[in-house]
């Protein structure tokens, strides 16, 4: 089973306000993605919690329908 990149992006945006999301389809098979999520709420948050916030936004799909999502998270750079 696979998910469309747009669907992943939408879920993350819905769960994390103000997130900047970039999805890359790594294998071109609609099943192996990389996501880079930059969000103000990540500021001062340990990386494990940042990733957990993204997984929460994906609502249980991670590890299930979404097998392979290579995830990078960070807070936006200070202006």
């Amino acid at each position: 089973m696979a998910m469309a990149a747009a669907e992943i992006e939408e879920l993350i945006r819905a769960g994390i306000p103000d997130a900047r999301v970039e999805i890359t389809d790594l294998a071109g098979d609609g099943d192996h993605y990389a996501a880079r999520v930059v969000a103000p709420m990540f500021k001062g948050m340990p990386r494990v919690r940042q990733h957990q916030a993204v997984y929460a936004a994906l609502g249980g799909r991670m590890g299930g329908v979404l097998h392979a999502l290579q995830l990078t998270t960070e807070a936006p750079a200070e202006e």
Binding site: R47, V48, H51, Q52, Y55, G60, M62, G63, G64, A68, Q70, L71, T72
Partner: protein, 110 residues
């Protein structure tokens, strides 16, 4: 997750300073993410134990709730959940993982 599984996982985490829950064994990882985690720990030269979740369905499902983390591999250092393979890779590249291991007194053998 049953209390029994929870106690089993807690026991494993408490007993091993560096513990990787993975698919397969260090010599024969059964998934690319587990393979990457092993490569990182091997590069750091740290002694670690591993648990093959494919051999234990209770642990395989239970560890996800235990850590509040949906995927495997999962790295624990001195009882603290560090993260999965993406976090390990980021922390390895930035030097944070070596630093964390040193801070926790499980640095690589010189």
């Amino acid at each position: 997750m049953t209390d029994d599984v929870h106690a089993r996982i807690q026991g494993l985490v408490d007993a091993n300073p560096v513990l990787l829950f993975m698919k397969g064994s260090p010599l024969f990882p059964q998934c690319g993410f587990s393979s990457r985690a092993i490569a990182i720990l091997t590069h750091l030269g740290v002694e670690f134990e591993s648990v093959d979740v494919l051999q234990d369905q209770g642990v395989r499902q239970g560890i996800k709730a235990f850590s509040d983390w949906p995927t495997i591999p999962q790295l624990y250092v001195r009882g603290e959940f560090v993260g999965g393979s993406d976090i390990m890779m980021e922390m390895y590249e930035s030097g944070e993982l070596a630093q964390l291991l040193a801070d926790k007194g499980v640095a690589a053998q010189a």
